[in-house]
Symmetry: D3
Subunit: 149 residues, 6 copies
């Protein structure tokens, strides 16, 4: 049995190598999260955390985000919803940043989190609003020349 047909509607062809997936994922990750942000992350990677960083770059960014079936704006909104449901605030903050880069408006982010209030419960939505507000504030500060640098 070969899975090459099925892979053809995948971001990855069956002959795609792990290195190719990593490079493709890293490129998308840079586009979505920003050159400076990703460079800081890569500089901080230790031997201990390298395998998971590479796994996430290859899998989340290289395999999934590279697929043509949904635009990046929609993928960002989906992540905000899932990360609220999963209660993962650090990663939520990272993806609020990505959502803005991908062209999501503040109102769209607000709408996703309001919808999450009904489906995931009010406490999760309140927490995600706090996270999103903080990151949106940081992004505004960075645009004004303040912030990390």
């Amino acid at each position: 049995m070969t899975n090459s047909d099925a892979s053809s509607n995948d971001g990855a062809a069956g002959t795609d190598t792990a290195d190719a997936r990593y490079e493709r994922g890293l490129a998308i990750r840079r586009e979505v999260l920003g050159e400076a942000h990703v460079n800081r992350s890569l500089a901080g990677v230790s031997d201990f955390s390298r395998p998971v960083q590479e796994y996430v770059t290859r899998t989340a960014w290289g395999d999934i985000w590279s697929r043509p079936g949904l635009d990046r704006r929609t993928r960002s909104l989906l992540n905000l919803a899932m990360l609220t449901a999963l209660n993962r605030n650090h990663e939520l903050g990272v993806h609020v940043r990505g959502a803005v880069t991908n062209g999501c408006t503040e109102e769209e982010i607000q709408e996703v989190l309001l919808q999450a209030a009904v489906y995931c419960g009010a406490p999760g939505a309140l927490e995600s609003f706090r996270v999103a507000e903080r990151v949106l504030g940081e992004l505004a500060a960075e645009r004004n020349g303040v912030g990390h640098g």
Copy 2:
């Protein structure tokens, strides 16, 4: 303090009554889930479950789905993602049906659940694929004149 200004970008105006929200929600619910499906649901509502049915109709459908900030197609995709994360298969099945009515393609549903595989974990994605596949099969059977009746 009055919240009428803030409510103006809400689906609901500050003078909106509970009855009005219920009627608005019921109309959207019928459009999304189908006339026959909602009629069957309403016929099966007991005194015990009526308060939660009305709460959901007013809140989820009347307050949130009526808001203009996101189109219904996107709201459907968000729900598939959140219901996978929350492990709520019954409601997921209901919203796969709604997603199709709202114009989501099978490929888009597939993409959302694949993205969920990375963020929510493989077991949840596998389960949601089973739920979605069953409902898509039921919808195909209904289109062909088979089904509930």
Copy 3:
């Protein structure tokens, strides 16, 4: 260090044996879930599941339910709320039965699950309403001489 003082406001004294906790737990479990129901459960216990059945009887029923700090009615309502949040429907069904035995009214059960709709999200509340309605129906049938036995 001795923990006998602290244990004095516990259901268990420091000299309490595992057998005593099990017997005390089994007695409370019978009172809450019913003689016939618990006898059926015990008859179905295999060697494989015996350790967890005994652990739960000793711990949940013998250690916690025996404590005087909250009445059984309140403990039942708390369990309905937690089991909704945890998405554990089988155990929820068992504790709806217990709630009724402990004197909770149908309206109180309804209120707990409505409150869960706001805090745990609508999909979980809808599912718990379905579970509770089924069990309340079974209890009504048993009172009318129909049912398991």
Copy 4:
């Protein structure tokens, strides 16, 4: 179909407006969480978070907490249990404060969290004990004239 009958055992009548629900919710929220605390919260609300703040005030406080079917003390205990299960520590802290205002004793709070240890697992209970202990300490400090203000 009309839902006015069903709404009559609801906190809200069918003719209840969104503004009325908000005002009723805000009043209960002030009673439970304290005048000073709520004023500080309202002063900190941005345009971004206003919709979710209003949604929660209308829904959680205006629709659910206003219902007569359970007393406020019981509703507070239920929230401590659900927020432990949901792993939402910020909101848990807010509701420990509310529980004390609603007349729950420290022993009752302790009992709820001990019961959560069995049903939600030991790690969640340990974390909720840490949160509750911190908030109870803050409340004691405020009663002694120390604290926020």
Copy 5:
């Protein structure tokens, strides 16, 4: 930057192709879950579910299970624990089967689920014991020439 060094302690080398990962994963999956079981699964794969099946085969089985850092017996026990925590009973059943193939004893499975009772809560452990007991019964029936086929 190249990730070839880091990948060398990975199951996959940097030049590994998607097809190679799939074939390696499929081989391990057959060894762990059984030839007949996997053949039935592959025969039932539709176009809709093929991408997630291939994703799981490449990622879970091809990338993770192929890594040398933990033996298969330990990986099986870890999965039983995680799937209990995640409340994913279908996948739990699949991995109970895998655990037995990988040489885990019934007592070890029992121990994992008892440990889960303390950390994940009693309701989850009770449910996982029911799932495990059913699958162990099916395996015994299959060994005796009864069963699916």
Copy 6:
């Protein structure tokens, strides 16, 4: 009915007292988490948190960790997996420390968390890697004479 037979393969005999379980649990807890660490914990226990501390010592450490069916190394790895799935970072940090004491290597901890990436989702694994890396750094500092004391 007596449960003494079943208890014989338990860490606890049926005649085991609560005090005995506590003392046995405290001894194992000291061995796994370290004398100094446990002494600091005990010194910080208030009347409010004492019941849960004693419950956890008796149950998790005295009843489960004392059972012979799995070695401590495996129990540590299981806890890292479950605490990742449960999103309980504080307790995860405690058990990373315990895992090292129980002889788990850094590579094994890494492998468990990588496996969790597939089954619990990437965001949880990334967060657990951050927690584990911080604790491993603290342990290294303590071995070098720096740190808490």
